[in-house]
Amino acid sequence: MASKRPTSVTIRSYQVGFGDCFLLSFHYGEKEGAEARHVLIDFGSTGKPPKSGLSMKEIASLIREACTPAGGGKPKLHAVVATHRHADHISGFGGTSGEIIAGLQPDLVLQPWTEDPDAAPDAREPTAAAASAKGFVARLDDMHAVSTHVLAEVATLRGLKTVSAQLGFLGEDNLKNLDAIRTLQDMPCRHVYASYGVRSGLEKVLPGVRVRVLGPPTLKQSAAIQKQREEDAAEFWHLQAQAVRPPAGDGAVAGPLFPGAAQASSEDLPFQTRWFLPRLDALRGEQLLEIVRILDTAMNNTSLILLFEVGKKKLLFPGDAQIENWLYALTAAKDSGKVQKLLAEVDVYKVGHHGSLNATPKTLWNLFRKKSETAGSGRLQSLLSTMSGKHGSTDRNTEVPRRKLVDALEKETTLHSTQKLTRKSQPCNEVRIPV
């Protein structure tokens, strides 16, 4: 290795539509043939732009290309980070594209503690285990079950286009991506399941780089914020998983609750109350959407938050962490004062959760010291991987990306958004940062 410390970092944000895929290449020397080490942070998508979208296999090939030493030789990916289990972050690890990534023989797979197979529940006793790691992971499984059932029921909703579309999108994102999860688990290398404050294992892979894990907090840590609410949430998801009953299949709704009871047709109701049935159908769609939205947030909050310190530069990759995850690092952790000081110096910010309204907490944003309304070398750079019109709605001020946030990013940072990649010939944004 020409240098013991990186001299620069290249960050590629690939156009995956609604999803995340970032390749960080740490260059150890600027001369031709100097070694580079590569870390892939997430590889998933739940919606591609119609014209500029490359397939996941094509993107995997581009990643392989980027990981090939300049003078030729065997391509090598040094580490894979899967911030959390949402499809828009890990779907690419399944199928052929996943095989290509696995073929790059990473030395390390880094995931949040919630993905640790040892934390997987062997028995489903959610109440007893509510405050335990197993109980929490069982809850994530319950959420997948809810999504599966909701998706099946969406197919049967009548005349509710907008609600159905949103349900379909969120439901799919929250399905258990077994194929991708298995590929990640089966990679024959070191696996680290990290939580706030632990070592990420990336230091060994990336000499001269310090990586701090700022989230997710463990259950014990988050108890400092959530107090006695854990039990309620565990109970809620366990019952909800069973409440949303699987339909009979083939697009048919579930069988009646009381098969032996006499049924009636809506014509049997008095004229003045027939409006009530379609109203209840519509309400059902809204209720399902409400549940799936809560579920989506809970999953996002299992996201890894990583702060890379490379030379004098600080790069922040918070996955989809929303405020509930961030709260521990920002306010409750014993060393939150120190963390705040570090965050103030961030040079590159991967915008949380595709630019949604509550994944760039105001407290965090206000900390960033390098925001500036004028362009210049020391200005904060922001990386946004997103696609409008997939998530949330402008009617409720929940659109992703949130317009107000994008305006602030454009005004006070140098913004690199994948939305600007509108041709297949532009597969990614590439930013090189001397460190």
């Binding site: 609410r229 039990e231 069988g255 209720q287």
Partner: protein, 580 residues
């Protein structure tokens, strides 16, 4: 000459006493009979105020409307078996119908008049199996009470419609909305917490007002302990009957049993309310600004007062043997105390200001409502207990009181009755408006605001001794719409970060109570602006609303009861201040 009617005024109907988790010693689900207004029911059942429509939106199944009147008008289910209770949708229809009618009947009895829903229709729709979801809520938009179902621990379905307190809770939301439509408007954390807290209070007191439930909970919570040991049959040792012992055994016992099946619907809120101590609030005051936690304070204050009154009643009852009380009478006294506090609580709604309710206003309303009809409190000291209990939770009455501490002061100053006719004032809103207009300065109304007489309600209330109190209750509200930049003119502070052109609505209002001779007894006001105190309160409210995101687009959707209940069950408050 018309003949006296043989048609009975009331009828009895069997309901599940609390929920199917509460059984008697033989394992039979505890049921009880409740008295509700008699009426000629159509299939559904469909009556003059309630229409049960058994449609399941998850399976798109409409069940045949239940015909509850058997031969001779007898109810369909008198002594239902466990299987019928769990598996016959017609019994579920009977159960929800009877509980909704019972709560409606309690409101109408307490208020001394008919109570309307907050929508055009006279009949609220009730769907006992609305969806497969651990939720139940009142939806004003759909004119309905909706109850979900979900699998329980044993795999058998749990039905929200079979839980007395859940049905009573949702019905109370609908009734309070009909009585004080503005209480769902954005205001203070107190008002946001009031709907949930008050609905819990009514639900719990209406369950405690059933002797059978109290007996079962008392037996279950004392069984296995030392109760049976030395106590003669049917007696309970006095050491189990101190306020603290009853809080631990009966209140917590019931909260736990209710939690066994239904915690997914209501979370652990009831258990938390029962356990809540004033020190908990002092330790984390910020957490108790959140509406659900705020509501728990109201429930805690009311339940502690209930236990205190209950023990006071037991003391005056006397012991059967040295140190022992009769179990039957213990349950009866609990039921009587709960029933009385329930009446007081409902009646208090008439004595609240129409907008911007805070818990101190509700306490003054409670004390006044009772003082008006029963001036002498020396027997069971209900009002003393309430004052003490609320004080423990740092809730002071909004009024300092005159004849008695904490009650609203009688209206003072010159009131101009010229040009108005009292007879018309009991039925004509325009006549009332004329009275208000003539007296607008004395009543502290804000000149130039949109002013409206919302409701006009003559009532006839009956005291425990049979004494009748006639009153007319009038609700008048004021509304001012302006831009944030104009707040300074009213000496109201603009919240930090609010832009100058943000549209702001300010509300004020006054409740007037007239006696039977046409004199104005009480003017209970939350003024819109004009005094330093009002300006300070409005400034504080605006800041709170800004902090909690009520000025955000779509915020009204998050105020719906369905969302509120879900958040309550989940226990996950939003961090609005951190959002974009």
């Amino acid at each position: 000459m018309p003949q006296a009617s043989n048609h009975p005024r009331t009828r009895r109907m069997t309901i599940v006493a609390q929920d199917p988790a509460i059984t008697d010693e033989t394992g039979a689900i505890l049921t009880t009979e409740v008295e509700i207004p008699a009426e000629r029911l159509a299939p559904g059942p469909c009556g003059y105020r309630v229409h049960v429509i058994d449609y399941d939106s998850s399976t798109r199944t409409l069940y045949e409307p239940a015909v509850l009147d058997g031969t001779g008008g007898a109810p369909l289910f008198v002594k239902p078996s466990n299987d019928e209770i769990r598996e016959d949708p017609r019994f579920h229809a009977q159960n929800v119908y009877a509980i909704v009618m019972r709560i409606l009947g309690r409101f109408e009895f307490a208020l001394g008049r008919r109570v309307s829903w907050d929508f055009q229709s006279h009949q609220i729709k009730v769907a006992p199996h609305a969806f497969a979801d651990a939720n139940a809520f009142y939806s004003e938009r759909d004119e309905a009470l909706l109850f979900g179902y979900f699998p329980g621990r044993g795999g058998k379905p749990v039905f929200a419609c079979l839980s007395h307190d859940v049905v009573a809770h949702e019905t109370t939301h609908a009734l309070v909305d009909g009585l004080r439509g503005r209480f769902t408007d954005p205001s203070s954390p107190d008002q946001a917490g009031f709907h949930e807290g008050f609905s819990d209070v009514v639900a719990l007191l209406s369950v405690f007002a059933l002797r059978d439930v109290v007996k079962a909970v008392l037996d279950r919570s004392l069984a296995g302990g030392s109760r049976r040991g030395a106590a003669p049959d049917g007696l309970v040792h006095e050491k189990f009957l101190t306020p603290e012992a009853l809080r631990q055994s009966v209140l917590l016992g019931l909260a736990k049993q209710m939690g066994e099946e239904m915690s997914a619907v209501r979370g652990q809120a009831l258990r938390r309310s029962v356990k809540l101590q004033p020190e908990d609030i002092q330790a984390d005051p910020e957490a108790f600004r959140e509406p659900h936690r705020r509501g728990e304070i109201l429930v805690a204050a009311m339940l502690n007062a209930f236990v205190e009154v209950w023990t006071t009643r037991l003391e005056s009852l006397g012991r059967i043997q040295k140190k022992y009380f009769d179990r039957e009478r213990i349950a009866e006294e609990a039921a009587a105390a709960a029933d009385y506090l329930l009446t007081m609580s409902i009646r208090a709604l008439d004595y609240t200001p129409p907008v911007h309710l805070e818990f101190g206003d509700f306490l003054s309303a409670l004390l006044t409502a009772d003082h008006e009809i029963r001036p002498d409190d020396s027997k069971y000291r209900y009002r003393d207990s309430l004052r003490r209990s609320f004080a423990r939770f740092s809730i002071a009455p909004a009024s300092q009181g005159g004849a008695e501490e904490g009650i609203w002061l009688p209206s003072q100053g010159d009131v101009n009755y010229e040009c108005v006719h009292f007879d018309s004032m009991t039925r004509d809103r325009d006549e009332v408006f004329r009275f208000i207009w003539e007296n607008r300065q004395g009543l502290g109304l804000f000149e130039g605001a949109y002013t409206r007489v919302e409701t006009l309600r003559p009532c006839l209330r009956i005291a425990p001794d049979g004494f009748a109190l006639r009153e007319t209750v009038i609700e008048c509200t004021q509304l001012l719409e302006l831009q944030a930049s104009e707040l300074a003119k009213l000496r109201i502070r603009k919240p930090d970060g609010m832009s100058e052109d943000t549209p702001v609505r300010l509300q004020g209002g006054i409740t007037l109570i007239f006696d039977e001779r046409g004199g104005m007894k009480l003017a209970i006001s939350n003024q819109l602006a004009g005094t330093p105190e009002t300006e300070e309160r409005q400034s504080r409210r605006l800041q709170d609303l800004w902090d909690f995101g009520h000025f955000n687009k779509g915020a009204s959707l998050n105020r719906r009861f369905s969302v509120q209940h879900r958040l309550r069950a989940m226990g996950s408050p939003r961090q609005i201040q951190e959002e974009w």
